[in-house]
């Protein structure tokens, strides 16, 4: 039988250390909504999402109440819209109409975000893919809850440099289109290499074509819990450090597993995966940078940071895989800047640069995330940064992503406020030397030699 100590430990994690289930995300296939008439397609999409997810928020809230664990977000991810809209959309305005439908139904069912305004173009772009990408600035400036992601490379296919170059411009255009809100549109736009089909986290969530009709994926969190556990083993060796992280990750993941199973049962939707990521929020004590500090670096970005992050990421996975048989999505430590108070402090102290963040992305999940850069950064420079990050993903056979926010009208030294979970960020300098001749070559970078495994 459960004892008092265990009850107190769990409740302290929840009340004092910000343990929460970050998101329950319902993946919904829209493949059966396809129609060549745009109005019919929009109606089909609205109805399918509404019917599938109308009880999602209420169910999430009820589970949260019964177990006493906060479930911060309820979200929906859908089949990449470039596939769904290809038959009906002849212009980028047509695609933006679908974004509006997604926004409308997301608001109706009360979810926090809806992801899947996406295209998978790791090798090449169809006409529909290109139109969808070109519609992103319009779509994100006309909607509130829609998130967009574009997969431009993979270990199997190499990097589609035409898409990378295009995304440099699209990010700038999205920033421009949402400049009254400090270019907030870019916070909902992410560029991927090796994008997973079952990621529950935004902005990169979409429902892959390899998935079932509907699925429940759950993202757990808990940087504060790991940090508190590590405070108790200060000065101990690496073995004890790693053991502590593993045990904590296990406990956190088990909570996610419980919530996922329960949500799946109540909604009558199969359980997909647990994404066992350490996802920070701007709240004090909910920071991955603080864990790195606790491991022993003065600020995130100091020498030793990459090694500390590598071990953290690995131990989180080792603890998590024991706790759930179906681990997927991104699963690892997230290192967004604006969403993590410790990262913001590190940038303000001059300890953390874009280049160091890039190195850190080699050993953890995701990539250059929620980084505000000067609004006058050139499209080609953004494309160059994307290309670098995609190369890391391609060569290391891992997911990498770029979510940069060129804040129009602002420069280095200024701060941008996004609000809520997105936080605020100091604008970081970007290397100003040109890469125009590189990114303008056109074509694609071939797949690496270690992808030829057949």
């Amino acid at each position: 039988m459960i004892n008092t100590k265990e009850v107190i430990e769990t409740n302290e994690m929840i009340e004092k250390e910000n343990l929460d289930v970050r998101t329950i995300t319902m993946g919904i296939s829209l493949l059966d909504c396809i129609d060549s008439d745009l109005e019919t397609l929009k109606k089909n999409i609205y109805n399918k999402i509404y019917e599938s997810a109308k009880d999602l928020v209420q169910t999430g809230d009820q589970i949260s109440r019964e177990f006493g664990i906060p479930i911060v977000n309820k979200r929906v991810s859908v089949t990449p819209i470039a596939l769904v809209g290809g038959a009906a959309c002849k212009t980028k305005e047509d695609f933006a109409e679908i974004a509006k439908t997604l926004d409308e139904v997301a608001k109706k069912i009360g979810v926090n975000f809806i992801g899947g305004y996406s295209a998978l173009v790791s090798k090449g772009m169809t006409q529909a893919d290109r139109l969808l990408i070109e519609s992103i600035p319009l779509a994100l400036s006309q909607t509130d809850l829609v998130c967009s992601s574009i997969n431009v490379g993979s270990t199997k296919t190499g990097i589609n440099m035409d898409a990378v170059r295009l995304m440099g411009t699209i990010i700038k255009d999205t920033a421009e289109a949402t400049k009254e809100n400090d270019s907030l549109g870019c916070a909902k736009l992410v560029v991927f290499c090796n994008a997973p089909d079952d990621n529950p986290f935004m902005a990169g969530a979409f429902h892959g074509v390899t998935e079932e009709d509907r699925i429940i994926n759950v993202g757990v969190s808990g940087p504060g819990v790991v940090k508190t556990a590590l405070e108790k083993v200060r000065g101990e060796n690496f073995e004890i450090l790693c053991e502590t992280i593993k045990k904590t990750a296990f406990k956190v993941t088990r909570v996610g597993q419980l919530v996922a199973r329960e949500a799946s049962k109540r909604l009558g939707v199969p359980f997909g995966i647990i994404d066992l990521s350490l996802a920070p929020t701007p709240a004090i004590g909910d920071s991955v940078a603080d864990i790195l500090h606790e491991i022993g670096v003065e600020h995130a970005g100091a020498p030793g940071t990459t090694a500390a992050l590598a071990l953290l990421n690995d131990q989180v996975k080792k603890g998590g895989v024991m706790a759930s048989s179906y681990v997927g999505g991104l699963s690892g430590a997230f290192i967004p800047v604006s969403e993590d108070q410790g990262m913001i402090n590190a940038v303000e102290a001059g300890a953390l640069t874009l280049e160091k963040l890039e190195a850190m992305t080699c050993v953890c999940s995701v990539g250059l995330d929620m980084i505000a850069i000067p609004g006058d950064t050139k499209d080609t420079t953004i494309a160059g940064v994307i290309a670098d990050e995609m190369a890391i993903g391609m060569i290391n056979q891992k997911t990498t992503a770029v979510r940069l926010i060129p804040v129009i009208g602002k420069g280095v030294g200024e701060t941008v406020e996004f609000g809520g979970l997105l936080g605020y960020a100091p604008i970081m300098p970007v290397n100003g030397f040109s890469c125009d001749a590189f990114v303008n070559r056109g074509g694609r970078i071939p797949a690496p030699v270690h992808s030829f495994k057949n």
């Binding site: 039988m1 459960i2 004892n3 008092t4 265990e6 009850v7 107190i8 430990e9 769990t10 409740n11 009820q62 109440r65 019964e66 177990f67 006493g68 664990i69 406990k251 088990r254 909570v255 597993q257 419980l258 329960e262």
Partner: protein, 90 residues
């Protein structure tokens, strides 16, 4: 199955256990285990109870207990047992 964990935390006063137990008895909720400590004047109680014999649903019980807690100046929390089982048992 169908067990709940009730935790009561707050400043110690006369009759906390009595009031909680009276409510549970009136509701047909059976107490399976109970433990209590006082740490520097603060009252800490944990109960494991079974919902098998009650006609009340979880939300009602949780709301009633929360209200009862407010009346006597303590925090009463009600959670399903599975969250603790998942976290602490393999």
């Amino acid at each position: 199955m169908n067990k709940i964990i009730i935790t009561v935390v707050g400043k110690d006063t006369v009759g906390i256990i009595a009031k909680v137990c009276t409510y549970l008895a009136d509701s047909g909720i059976n107490i399976l285990d109970i433990s209590q400590t006082i740490v520097s004047g603060y009252f800490n109680m944990m109960m494991i109870a079974s919902m098998e014999g009650t006609s009340k649903d979880f939300n009602t019980v949780a709301d009633d207990l929360e209200k009862l807690g407010k009346d006597i100046g303590v925090v009463i929390k009600c959670q399903r047992e599975e969250i603790f089982d998942s976290m602490h048992r393999i």
